[in-house]
Amino acid sequence: MKKTTTNSRILHVFVVMSILFLVLIGYMSYFELRGKSSLMSNSYNRRLKAYEEGIIRGTIFDRDGEVLAITKIKNGVTTRSYPYKRLYSQVIGYSNDMLGKTLLEAQYNDTLLGLNALGVVGNTMSLITGEPKTGNNLILTIDHDLQTRARELIGDKRGAIVAINPKTGEILAMVSTPDYNPNESALDENWDYLTTDENSPLLPRAVLGLYPPGSTFKVVTAVAAIKKGLDDFQVEDTGSVVIDGKTFTNAGDKVYGTLDMISAMTVSSNVYFTTLSEKLGGRALVSTAEKAGINKKLNFDIPTSKSKINTKIKSDTELAATVIGQGKLLVTPLQMALICAGIANDGVIMKPYLVKSVSDRNGEILTTTFTKKLYRFTDAKTANQVTDMMVEVVKNGTGKRAAISGINVAGKTGTAQNEKSSQGGYDHAWFIGFAPADDPEIAIAVLLENQAEDGGQVAAPIARKLMNLWLNK
C-alpha cells in the first residue's frame, strides 16, 4: 500500500516537471511568434548592426526607376545617399548609423538588408561566390515628377499633400513640410535643431499629423445624409442658424436663400449642414465616418496616426460642429485623401501602399504588392451623387480654382479653425479632389497649415496643377 502511494507521488513530481518543461517550450514559441517583435529593434541589439556590416543595403526607386536612396561604397566605407535630399525625407526617412532608421528605411529594413525569407537565396549564393551580400531593392508607387512638383508647389508653407490612385491605392506623391535633408552629414549637423524646433520638421504630417478637416468633411456628412434618405432636404439659408443656443454662420456671413444638398455643397453652406445635422443624428454620422476608416488603425507602409471622431456626441451643438468638420474630430491628410479616393472609386477605398514591388540585385522582381479593398465606404450610387456635388463645387462653387478646362474635376474646399486660429492665428486651408470625375485617375488631399487665405484660394490651385500634370503624363 505504502509503495504504490510513493510511486504515484513520484509520478506527480514527474508530471509537474514535465509541465515546467512544457511551459518553457510554450513560452519560447510565444516569444518567437509575438513576444519578441517589440524588442528586436532595440538599439542595444548589436546584432542589427553586425548583420548590416558587409551587407550592401538595397536601393529605393520611384515607379519609373529613378534612384531615390542608394548605398555608396567609398574606401570600404558605406554611406546611405539620398540624391534628392529633402524631397523624400518624409516618405523614405533615413538610415543612419548613429541615429537609427525611420519610415520606409525602418519598416523595410529586413527587406533592404535581404534578411528576410526573400533574401536567403541571394545571400546563400554570395556565401559561395564570395561576392558581397546585397539586400533587396524597393520600387515605390511614387512618381518622381509628381513628387517634385508637389514639393515645389507647397514651397515654404507647412502642410502636406497626398496624391493617390483611387482605383489601386497606389500613393503617387506624398509630401510633408517642413522636411529635412536625410543625408548623413546634414542630419548629424542639424540634429539638435530638427529635434527641438517647434515646427517638428521630423514629423511626417501626411500620415502622423492630426487636423480638423473643416468643410472637406461635408463630403462624409453628405454620404451619411443620403444613406439616411435626406437627399431632398432643403433649408432656407438666412446666413445664420441657432442650434441649441449656439449660432452657426456661413463663411463671410453670406446668405444663400433656398438650398438643396447640391447647392449647399457648392457654396459650402454651414447653415444648411448644421440644420441638417438635427435630422441626421450623431450615430449615423459616426458610423459613416468609421466606414471611411476614422477611429480605425490603418496598416500602412509607414506609421500612421489614427484619425478620430468622438463616438459619443453629447449635444446638438457638438453634432452641428462635427458635421462641418470641427468639433471633436481630427484626421490625417492621408485619411482625407482616402475619403476622397473612396468617393472617386464608387464608394470603395483601396488599401494605400507605397511599395509597389521588391526586386533583387539583378533587378529581378521578387514580390509585387497586390491591390486590395480596404473599406466599403458607401455604395456606388451614393458615391456618384456626392461626385456630382463635388463637380459643382469646382464648376460653380468654392473650388473654382481647381478647374481644368476640358476635364471634369470633383473637389471640396475646407477652412478649418484650430488652436492657433482661436488665438488670433490663421485657419488651416484644405482641398480634396479627384479627376477626371467620371473615370478618376488621381485623388488628392492638400492641407496647408495656418493660411491667411482659404482652402479654395491656396489649396485648390495646388491640386489643379498636380492633377493636370498627372493627367497629361
Binding site: 507521488r9 513520484i10 516569444f31 518567437e32 528586436m40 548589436r46
Partner: protein, 429 residues
C-alpha cells in the same frame, strides 16, 4: 531479465539510437570543421574521438547489462550539442571542455563500476551533513570571488565550485533521513524533538550558507529537491507547507536586505529599465534567442559572443540563436527524456534509500535545467546555475557525469541486487 529494453525489441529492426547519436555528431563536427571556410582537421579528430567513445560506452553498457542503456545516450547527445557550441565559440575553451568531457566519461565509468561496493556502507546522515558544512566553511575561508560570488576553491591550476558537489551530497543526506529518520532525533531537557524539525533546521542552515555565498540558484534548486522529497517520501503536506512558507518569508526578507538579490528580481521584471547595466546580460540573451527564430542562423553564423558569460550560464541562448528554438526545444526534450528515464529507475527501485537517491539525482538535474533555461528566457529570475552536460566548466561537467554514473549504477548493479535479494527472500518463505 533486462527491465530497460522493450519486450519486442528482439524483433525490432529500427536503427539503434546510438547510430543516431553518431549521425548527429558527424553532422555537427563536420559542419564545425569547415565553418571558417578552411578545413580544420583538429575538430574532426575531436568529433571522431567523441563518436568512438559513444559507441564504446554504449556497447559496454549493453554487453555487460549495466542497466538503462538510454540515459547515457541522451547525455551523449546533450554533450555533443554542448561541445560543438563551445568549440564554435572558441577553439581554446572548446578543447578544454573536451578534456573535461573525457574526465567526466572516466568518472561516469568508474562510478558505474564501483558504486555498488559503497552504497550500503556509507549511510551516515551526519557524515553527509558534516561534509557539506566543511565544504561550505572551506569555501568561506579559502574561497575566491568570481563574478561577485565567493564560491570557488582554487587548488594549484585547478579551480572548482563546491556547490556542484554539495547538491549531490544533499541528495544522500535526504536519502539517509528518509531511510533512518530516527538518527536525527534529539532529546532536549527530557523533551523529544521530532526528527523532521531537526531536518528542517539543518536544511535552513544549509540554505543560509548558500545565500551567504550568493548561490541563490543552487539554494533554490536544493530547496526544490527538498520539498519534492518531503512530498513523495514523507507525505507530510502540512510540514511541506510550513517549509515553503518559512522559506518564502525568508526569501522575501532577503530580497529586502540583499541588494544583489533585489537586482535579480528587478532585472527579471524590468530587463529594459537598465539595459546598459544590470539588464544587459538578459536582454542580450533575449536578442540572441529572438534573432535565431525557429530554425536558427546556422552554426557559426550568429553572434552569441555578444552575450556575456555565454559559454556558462547562457549556452542555451547560443544554441537557440544558431540552431533556432527548435534546437532549444530539442535540448529541453532531451532533458525531459532524461528525467523520464531517471523517474523510471526510481519507480523500479524498492529500497527506500536507493529510491530517494535516484529521485533526488533526477530532480536535481531536472530542476537545475528548468532554472537555467527559464532564467535565460526570462520565465523565472536568472539564478546562475549551469545547464548540465552543456555549460562550460569542469565542476559542472564532472558533477553532472557523477550524477549520470550514479543513476547508471542504480539502474544496473543496484537494481539487480535488489531483485536478487527479493527472489531469495521469496524462496525462503
Amino acid at each position: 531479465m533486462d527491465k530497460f529494453v522493450d519486450a519486442n525489441s528482439k524483433n525490432n529492426k529500427a536503427i539503434s539510437p546510438v547510430h543516431l547519436v553518431a549521425l548527429v555528431d558527424i553532422g555537427l563536427f563536420a559542419l564545425l570543421s569547415i565553418r571558417t571556410g578552411v578545413f580544420e582537421p583538429f575538430i574532426m579528430i575531436l568529433g571522431g574521438t567523441k563518436i568512438v567513445l559513444t559507441y564504446t560506452m554504449y556497447l559496454i553498457l549493453k554487453k555487460l547489462k549495466m542497466g538503462d542503456p538510454y540515459i547515457a545516450l541522451i547525455v551523449a547527445l546533450l554533450a555533443s550539442l554542448g561541445l560543438t557550441m563551445q568549440l564554435r565559440l572558441s577553439t581554446e575553451v572548446g578543447t578544454k571542455q573536451f578534456i573535461w568531457f573525457l574526465l567526466g566519461m572516466g568518472i561516469f565509468f568508474v562510478t558505474t563500476f564501483i558504486y555498488h561496493y559503497f552504497h550500503k556502507r556509507i549511510r551516515a546522515i551526519w557524515l553527509f551533513y558534516g561534509l557539506m558544512l566543511s565544504l561550505f566553511i572551506l569555501t568561506l575561508i579559502v574561497g575566491v570571488r568570481i563574478n561577485g560570488a565567493k564560491n570557488w576553491i582554487i587548488i594549484g591550476p585547478f579551480s572548482f565550485q563546491p556547490s556542484e558537489f554539495i547538491k549531490i551530497l544533499f541528495v544522500y543526506f535526504m536519502a539517509s533521513f528518509v531511510s533512518n529518520p530516527e538518527k536525527l532525533e534529539v532529546e532536549l531537557k527530557g523533551q523529544k524533538i521530532t526528527s523532521k524539525w531537526i531536518l528542517m533546521g539543518l536544511v535552513f542552515v544549509l540554505l543560509g550558507f548558500f545565500v551567504l555565498q550568493r548561490e541563490f540558484g543552487t539554494a533554490l534548486l536544493v530547496f526544490m529537491v527538498y520539498i519534492s522529497t518531503l512530498y513523495v517520501f514523507e507525505k507530510a503536506v502540512l510540514f511541506s507547507v510550513i517549509n515553503i512558507s518559512v522559506a518564502g518569508a525568508a526569501a522575501f526578507m532577503a530580497i529586502q536586505v540583499l541588494p544583489h538579490l533585489q537586482t535579480r528580481v528587478t532585472t527579471w521584471l524590468h530587463p529594459f529599465a537598465d539595459i546598459a547595466g544590470k539588464g544587459y546580460q538578459i536582454t542580450q540573451s533575449l536578442f540572441a534567442i529572438g534573432s535565431g527564430s525557429f530554425f536558427g542562423t546556422g552554426v557559426g553564423l550568429g553572434y552569441p559572443q555578444f552575450i556575456p558569460n555565454v559559454e556558462t550560464d547562457f549556452i542555451f541562448s547560443a544554441i537557440c540563436e544558431e540552431m533556432g528554438i527548435f534546437g532549444g526545444i530539442a535540448v529541453i526534450i532531451l532533458f525531459m527524456l532524461l528525467v523520464y528515464r531517471g523517474m523510471k529507475i526510481c519507480l523500479l527501485l524498492r529500497d527506500p534509500y536507493t529510491k530517494v537517491v535516484a529521485f533526488g539525482l533526477t530532480t536535481t538535474a531536472g530542476f537545475q535545467t528548468f532554472l537555467i533555461i527559464g532564467g535565460v528566457t526570462r520565465v523565472v529570475p536568472l539564478t546562475g546555475v549551469t545547464l548540465p552536460f552543456v555549460s562550460y566548466g569542469g565542476s559542472s561537467l564532472v558533477s553532472s557525469f557523477l550524477i549520470l554514473g550514479l543513476l547508471q549504477a542504480l539502474s544496473g548493479s543496484i537494481l539487480r541486487e535488489e531483485s536478487f535479494n527479493d527472489e531469495k527472500n521469496h524462496n525462503k518463505q
